[in-house]
Symmetry: C2
Subunit: 223 residues, 2 copies
DNA sequence: TGTCAACTGTCAGAGGCTGACACTAGTGTC
DNA sequence: GACACTAGTGTCAGCCTCTGACAGTTGACA
């Protein structure tokens, strides 16, 4: 259970107030970030909108950056629990593939209490198009990759330090995921559907892409 | 030709002085970073060691971060030129594999004028173990990935926006490269040889790792 | 030698972030 | 219901990265 989820069921007035302050700060931050840009938004502007002190902002979020990733954080832990729920018979790669698609299907339920799906999508695109946030995003992905590799290894009864396959498979999978994420962020269609379609098409091309000679085989299948 | 390489052949006294200042700053920075840590080192400490003003540091390096990646920058462009030099008959994945191994073989010649290979290795490990630098490193890798994908696509006469295979293959390749880089950074052996051995072993496992059921096949081949 | 342009230093300041300390307002207790 | 306790907050003061403006210095070149 994450802090966010625990905080979703406040007991007393103090907890409710705390939650309201955090939600207001997060909302104001994401709203400002996505409308006028991340770098262009100062913490002072955020706290001004919520009418709290700057010090308070930094008590809820360790950094300005952390606020930008608050929703992403929830989506990732949602993916991890989907992956843990996958049937043991499934091959590793199929389990990974199934887990992302499921996580995206249920994205609404995951974040509904905090923000609209639309704001989340806008935030994602902002992250992809802001260099410093993209850097942070990739580092978070690396952490996630590590966790996934451990999960996959355990599923298969392997040790990640003995057998390269868990890490290698997860690296390839996450690599493709990032490519689709970036393409989707740069593209025009911003719905979850187009992201899913892109992901499925690209994952299907992983095998063929690694095969020896491309010139003797058939060409494009997605665009 | 990069700025560094052009600056390696100075014409006048002014250029030589400029180069000496830059080299001194870079050396002092990397030395301090690797001995006392990146975050623990202030720009003031660096400029104090070289006896220039802080303002001067920021004229040579856009940021403290940029100094940390100066060598990496050279290595990356060295990899790219190795890749361009690969025979056209080679399959895409083989070309990528060959290019990294060649780039690492000639790493000494690439950076010899600036720093020792040993300092570069220490710097690499520092980058891998410093969260904020790791983030920046991954973003740089993403940029590089994009360039590589364009190169591979051109080699094969494809359009990256039409055929997913260039991006997908490069993503998988770079994913494995990062895994080996991280493992090497965390490990005990710090030579180029151990990095190369690890890379070869892991790249060999890419095919098997994506194949359906791992439990019916043979196990570990690298440690 | 003198002029021009490039490089550098100083100064002032914005913006992210932190520690210390005092104050306010919920919480649990008698 | 009055009490002390504690979590949450604001204020202030300061560090560090990075930038703009302006002035001083030093090679380059006629």
């Amino acid at each position: 259970m994450t802090d966010e989820q625990r905080a979703a069921y406040p007991t007393g007035l103090r907890e409710r107030k705390k939650r309201r302050t955090r939600d207001a700060l997060l909302h104001a931050a994401l709203d400002l970030f996505t409308t006028q840009g991340y770098e262009e938004t100062t913490v002072d502007e955020i706290v001004e909108a919520v009418e709290v002190s700057q010090r308070t902002f930094f008590r809820y979020f360790a950094s300005k950056e952390e606020a930008a990733f608050a929703i992403q954080e929830m989506v990732e832990s949602s993916f991890l629990s989907e992956l843990r729920r996958r049937p043991a018979e499934e091959a590793p790669f199929d389990a990974l593939r199934g887990a992302v698609l499921c996580a995206w299907n249920s994205i609404g339920e995951t974040i509904e209490e905090l923000v609209t799906v639309e704001l989340h999508m806008r935030t994602y695109r902002m992250i992809e198009s802001t260099p410093s946030l993209l850097a942070a995003h990739l580092r978070r992905c690396a952490d996630l990759e590590n966790q996934i590799a451990l999960l996959i290894a355990r599923r298969e009864g392997l040790d990640v330090d003995e057998d390269p396959r868990p890490r290698v498979a997860v690296a390839a999978f996450c690599g493709v995921m990032r490519v689709t994420g970036q393409l989707w962020g740069r593209g025009r269609e911003s719905g979850v559907d187009s992201l899913r379609a892109l992901t499925e098409a690209y994952l299907d091309q992983l095998g063929p892409a690694l095969a020896g000679n491309w010139r003797t085989e058939s060409g494009a299948t997605a665009g």
